[in-house]
Symmetry: C2
Subunit: 357 residues, 2 copies
């Protein structure tokens, strides 16, 4: 078959930034084949008030009126249970993102993942109101505790299991998971559960379906956090993404950075920009596995179900048709010369493109 | 004690390049506290003839008359046993460096480390003549064989063991070793041997005593091949270097690159430049371990013995005094604006400096 109806497509982890960068990348959500997206709150300052979230959403909708933007708060000590309850009741946010302090871009205001108990009152409200907790699942690096970029996610998994045990009805997502062990943990938690009982899921990015450590060693464009790991990890991610299992779904973690912050000898920013061809990158991996029939589960059915998104919440009823059609990734995505972003697989050709119906 | 006599110091793995870069870095061998150095042959084109080696040495000596330069050939299919015998007899080279094809800077002319047998006639001659075989001990990356930057050295170790078995009297050095497994292999090979029976050794760099994967993830200045590995690997290297065992000695693999080839979004060059403070970087690690008494073994006694360097072969009888004295690493090492190299730990202060006596 050379066409696949993907329905209403979702990308449950997008970085749309602000200012000129926001203007550049926000329209590429739809261009990349995505209808519904879940927007990360790690601006400077982070999104922690109703006013900020409402204003940010308004700006995004002005840039792409047919895209559905689901908003989030940044988990922070200033977030009160009352504020979270109000934001949920007013349907301003769909969830709250938790960044461990210091692990990735704009995470300096993050929390200490060795002790989530200060946030338990907030988690109680989230559980009651049906908000989603999105976890950047890495322990911060530590010489004393032998934590480094390769094992930071695996070392975090017990904290995920404990949160689930303490809040069994709280919907939790392990974002951008990168390891075989993370995949196994998600399956273990969900073993024997019916679809409506699932409260713990995981997003998988496009680039982690492609990359291993060799691809970012010495290559700033492919460098992100969590870092891409070993071949067996990539294999586990590909197997999980293409499995159709309802707890795995798409979150690109597309993270644009200006080219000059990538080409820096003294340290380059972490993040891979994939938004402009989000569905195309993923489709090619599914195709190679002979699993294109499961792509709709990964990018549409599963995320819509986990996020409990009803059709009336979606701004455009347009659906996506995946078409076998050569698709060139530009060498750079530019904004009138002011901001330039180098996309993942820049200058390469993909086999699949998207059409809106 | 705040002074240590290090004797005639050695760095058995230096990259001095050619042209303007050679002019910039060659004097820094002595400035960094090194008297005798073993010069890598991976120029473009590589050093594979007597004429090239003689001419290269002449250029280096003109730039630093008091430094002893030991020259090497680049292992290559064009190297005949006759040529190698002649180069040994005329004392033009001290050894031959073997690069697996494609693993690091200027290694495209390298060999296939899955099969060294085409080079066995050359190794026979080297063994007879007492030349040293210097191995870049990594298997090339391979998806099919599950070889990546983290395990490439460990996957190479059986090839080292086999070479030693087939040529028990050939002196072999595993260059810039980076893993716990490599350290264990070197010890296993040498178990129960007397000093004069040692034929297999390993060099350890300055930067691998400091770095782990987190330090080069997103930091081009700290990116080199073999890549720095995990905390337990660094611990094993530090323990081995400071142990005083005769089969471990210093080879900095100082590898200068112009700053613009480090600050490149599409891929940066592999190599850490350490020459200007070579002894200082190492001394600080030994000091932290309370092992400064063993530093002379690592940088002088062990390499002089393994390379069988007699005093009459050393151009200057000057010895190095290590002095406790703050020592600033410049932010950049420049050549009249033409070439700029960012050193390891640029802008930081070291605790030890060197004086020539």
């Amino acid at each position: 078959m050379s066409q696949y109806d993907l329905g209403i497509t979702c990308d449950m982890h997008v970085h749309l930034r602000d200012g000129k960068m926001m203007e550049l990348v926000t329209p590429t959500v739809r261009q990349g084949g995505v209808s519904v997206c879940y927007v990360m709150p790690n601006l400077v300052p982070p999104i922690t008030t109703i006013e900020q979230a409402v204003e940010y959403k308004k700006q995004l909708e002005a840039l792409s009126p047919t895209t559905t933007f689901l908003m989030s708060f940044y988990l922070h000590k200033d977030l009160t249970p009352e504020l979270v309850a109000k934001a949920a009741d007013e349907k301003v946010i769909r969830g709250i993102k938790c960044y461990p302090a210091g692990v990735t871009t704009n995470s300096s205001a993050g929390v200490d993942p060795n002790d989530f108990t200060p946030f338990y009152p907030v988690f109680e409200v989230m559980q009651d109101k049906g908000l989603i907790l999105n976890l950047h699942g890495e322990k911060p690096p530590s010489d004393d505790d032998d934590i480094h970029v390769l094992n930071a996610e695996v070392k975090f998994l017990p904290a995920l299991a404990k949160l689930h045990k303490d809040f069994p009805k709280l919907k939790i997502i392990l974002e951008h998971c990168t390891t075989k062990e993370a995949i196994e943990t998600i399956r273990e938690i969900n073993k024997g559960k019916n679809a409506h009982e699932i409260t713990v899921g995981a997003t998988i990015t496009a680039h982690h379906l492609w990359l291993i450590i060799d691809n970012w060693a010495g290559n700033p464009i492919n460098f992100c956090k969590p870092v891409a790991k070993l071949p067996q990890d990539r294999s586990a991610l590909v197997e999980a993404a293409t499995s159709g299992e309802p707890w795995f779904f798409f979150g690109s973690d597309s993270a644009p950075h200006p080219i000059e912050t990538k080409a820096r000898h003294e340290g380059c920013c972490a993040g891979v920009y994939t938004q402009l061809h989000a569905i195309g990158y993923v489709a090619e991996v599914f195709d190679k596995q002979g699993k294109l029939d499961n792509l709709k589960s990964f990018v549409s059915t599963n995320p819509l179900a986990f996020y409990e998104i009803t059709e009336d919440q979606v701004k455009s009823k347009d659906t996506v048709l995946l078409v076998k059609n050569a698709n060139e990734v530009p060498k750079v995505l530019g904004n009138s010369g002011e901001i330039n972003v180098v996309p993942f697989k820049a200058g390469q050709s993909l086999n699949w493109s998207v059409e809106w119906k």
